[in-house]
């Protein structure tokens, strides 16, 4: 099996397992299926090729690009590669909901309907970037120990507490 065929199969398996989980009661079986689903999802990595994503969704790459441009499906890049991928979780979510729409009788535009439903439920993954430069994030991570990172989070929280306390006092003062 080629790499892309294997990736496509993984995406389809993740989607199928997530559907199966919806019907499984709590218990050891559910726990086992959940574990497999998590492992498959992790194996998918950051993203999948656009051709794979388009096949899973049953649309053309051109149509997929239109959804990406609209910010409804998320793009991702691996380090050192300029090739644009479709973010795996975004794809899984849209494929899941499009599948449900298809089963509910939507024969045309199942992807559009799936995206609409996800948006309505506030569950559509959207492009999100931290406000820190990627190179700075990476450099700081490589140059710090877990102990230093914990100390940094603690210090950030203490600073925030000082500011919040000042704001609190100010509000109390204003309220008389």
């Amino acid at each position: 099996m080629s790499g892309t065929a294997e990736t496509e199969q993984r995406v389809r398996h993740v989607v199928a397992l997530r559907r199966a989980l919806e019907a499984l009661p709590d218990g050891p079986e559910r726990r086992r299926v959940r574990r497999v689903e998590r492992e498959l999802r992790q194996a998918l990595g950051v993203g999948v090729p656009k051709g794979v994503a388009a096949r899973v969704l049953g649309i053309s790459v051109t149509a997929l690009d239109r959804w990406i441009q609209k910010g409804k499906i998320v793009e991702a890049h691996r380090p050192g590669s300029s090739r644009a991928l479709v973010e795996a979780w975004s794809l899984v979510q849209v494929a899941l909901e499009a599948g449900r729409a298809g089963e509910a009788g939507v024969t045309r535009g199942a992807v559009a309907e799936g995206i609409r439903r996800l948006e309505a439920a506030g569950r559509l993954p959207v492009p999100s970037r931290p406000n820190e430069h990627p190179l700075i994030l990476r450099r700081d991570f490589l140059n710090s120990t877990p102990e230093e990172r914990l100390a940094e989070i603690d210090a950030l929280n203490r600073q925030l507490a000082v500011l919040a306390r000042a704001a609190w006092r100010s509000r109390l003062k204003e309220a008389g």
Binding site: R31, R34, R35, E37, R38, R41, Q42, G45, V46, A76, H77, R78, P79, G80, S81, W89, G122, R123, P125, V126, S128, R129, P130, E132, P134, L137, R138, D140, F141, P146, E147, R149, L150, A151, E152, I153, D154, L156, N157, R158, Q159, L160, A161, A164, R165
Partner: protein, 170 residues
């Protein structure tokens, strides 16, 4: 009791460690540990759900005057279960608690995991001053899986930040 909305994270972790509470840290603190440090309003933990460990957790929380946070529309006494060791052990629920050291969320169920046993396998550890036990925090991929399930705007930003810091995404 004086409570404050921002958690004194280091102090909370020391209290848990001194009481030998076995737990895995998740949420914003774990995100920071994996390379995207940011301030967070609370400490989120998943405790080992044995009665003995939950009794130690209860003692630790009692020492910092823990009580359920006043949730919108609910007073603590209106919660489905009263705040007690028995509720903690038998309820297997999630508790949002205010303490003298700030907010701590005790999560006994967090999607897509069943609890502590699932998370401890990939958990990492960090030593902290003033405590003999190391602090264990969720593994990178487990954390990303939790953030994917939660799916709030901050979770999506955290996922990208975690991938960038760990060289998984550009």
């Amino acid at each position: 009791m004086t409570t404050f909305p921002i958690a004194a994270l280091g102090d909370l972790l020391v209290v848990l460690a001194r009481h030998e509470v076995q737990h895995v840290v998740i949420g914003g603190v774990a995100v920071g540990m994996h390379g995207a440090p940011r301030a967070t309003k609370d400490l989120d933990i998943v405790p080992l759900s044995t009665p003995e460990n939950l009794a130690r957790l209860w003692d630790a929380l009692a020492s910092i005057d823990a009580r359920p946070k006043h949730l919108e529309g609910f007073r603590p006494e209106e919660l489905p279960l009263p705040w007690s060791l028995r509720s903690l052990v038998e309820g297997q629920g999630n508790w949002i608690l205010e303490t003298t050291l700030g907010r701590i969320d005790v999560m006994q169920w967090v999607a897509p995991f069943e609890g502590y046993d699932d998370l401890i396998e990939q958990a990492e550890a960090v030593e902290i001053e003033g405590a003999q036990l190391p602090v264990r925090y969720a593994g990178l991929h487990d954390l990303i899986a939790m953030k994917q399930e939660a799916g709030r705007p901050q979770d999506l930003i955290d996922i990208t930040a975690l991938r960038l810091a760990n060289g998984l995404e550009a």
